[in-house]
Amino acid sequence: MEWCWLASVRPQQFSRGRPLPFRAAARFRGRLSKLRMSLALLGVLLAVGVPAFAHHGSASYKTDKVVVMKQATVTRFLWANPHTMLMFDAKDDKGNISHWAGEAGSPAAVRSLGWNKNSLHPGDVITVQLYPSKFERRVGRLDKIVLADGTTLKDSPRSDLGVLSRY
């Protein structure tokens, strides 16, 4: 099937490291320890903070995996409020067709990203990248679409608030 999962997010672990070989170096151990803690904290912040600010927020969708479907065919595009919707068919390696539905931000949200009512038409062959439902349904929050001419239509990002904006 012409889709793949991106790597899932896993917490990293930090090695305690080997003992320092020289006494002079050992005097710096405390300082190095602080530095190590700072670096570790940086790693944790990057790991946790970036996805938290970056992904669409939705309790229905996975945020740690993205499905990519190439050579998908648009069957319906709804320029609808408050959510733009895309129906499309994806074909696997054996030619089996599966029907998918994806949502994007509101027209007002995605217009500023280059979309409009006529961005997609039935029959268009596209690449779709989306965050799938947690329930293994063929539904997802769109991440981006690549048109046949290479044009990329990104979906709007989620709000950078504690609560999750879907608009």
Binding site: P82, S112, L161, G162, S165
Partner: protein, 275 residues
């Protein structure tokens, strides 16, 4: 030193691996979007000259959602209301009971905290009108010196009914700050997207300060002793003058929302067996 080197490598590797969704150069790269509102797209527009006195007239661009401060401790009544609210942040949209799930009005003050991509001020004799891009709603802010109504939602025959957008009066403090006080917001509306509640006793003070021609700051203060143990400032947000003095049409359309729930919201929230 080797320990430091090892630590650096491990930390950076961990950060890069775990943040690979954001920064990976290999295809496919997840999209973290571009500007999601006109304010972000406009960027820094500069002051644009001094602020005109006693004048907010025009179209202003804001963020999709204001950055909110934490709410203070809730009263037992407030906690009980909050417990009943299932927000979109915690539940799939199909399972939430957010009033806007069915395109009910955001109501006030939620409409000045969320879906604030665009607002407009204009004046009429004795009142200022504040309009919103989202759902193209408006509020009348009386400036003729009248008092706010009393006993909104009371049982007496002349008691005013609660309103989705309340009853508002406004006045200028100095030349550049327009102060709006509001009562009577319908308690069916939520304070914010997290589902924090409010009661009919809610009083809201908005302070719109025009810093210069291009920038408008608003501070929103909540006072609802039935729900919260103390008054609090829920947000201080900013708006930017829109050079074209126009904005998008942005509505919640009930029929389209119903189709969304049928095609996407419901399937996304449950397994094939409906669990």
């Amino acid at each position: 030193m080797r320990n430091l080197f090892q630590c650096c490598i491990i930390s950076l590797a961990g950060a890069l691996v775990v943040s690979s969704l954001a920064f990976a150069q290999s295809s496919p790269k997840p999209n973290f979007g571009g500007p999601e509102d006109l304010k972000e797209k406009l960027g820094d527009t500069g002051p644009g000259g001094p602020a005109p006195k006693h004048d907010l007239t025009g179209f202003w661009a804001g963020k999709v959602a204001a950055k909110l401060n934490p709410v203070p401790a809730m009263t037992p009544w407030g906690q009980e209301q909050f417990r009943l609210h299932k927000s979109n942040g915690q539940y799939p949209v199909a399972d939430s009971n957010d009033p806007i799930k069915g395109c009910d009005p955001l109501g006030f003050p939620r409409n000045i905290l969320f879906m604030t991509r665009g607002i407009v001020f204009t004046t009429m004799p004795g009142k200022t009108i504040e309009m919103s891009e989202y759902n193209r709603i408006w509020r009348e802010i009386w400036t003729d010196g009248r008092e706010l109504p009393k006993d909104v939602g009371g049982r007496s025959a002349d008691a005013p009914d609660p309103r989705w957008y309340g009853y508002s009066v406004g006045h200028w403090e100095g030349d550049y700050t327009f102060v709006v006080n509001t009562v009577g917001s319908d308690p069916r509306t939520w304070l914010d997207n997290a589902g924090h509640p409010h009661s009919i006793d809610l009083r809201v003070e908005e302070r719109y300060t025009r810093v210069n021609h291009n920038h408008l700051e608003v501070t929103v203060k909540i006072d609802d002793p039935k729900t919260y143990t103390e008054p609090f400032v829920i947000t201080k947000s900013e708006f930017t003058w829109i050079p074209e003095q126009d904005f998008e049409e942005e509505l919640c359309v009930p029929s389209e929302q119903a189709e969304y729930l049928k095609l996407i919201g419901e399937p996304a929230a449950h397994s094939e067996t409906g669990k």
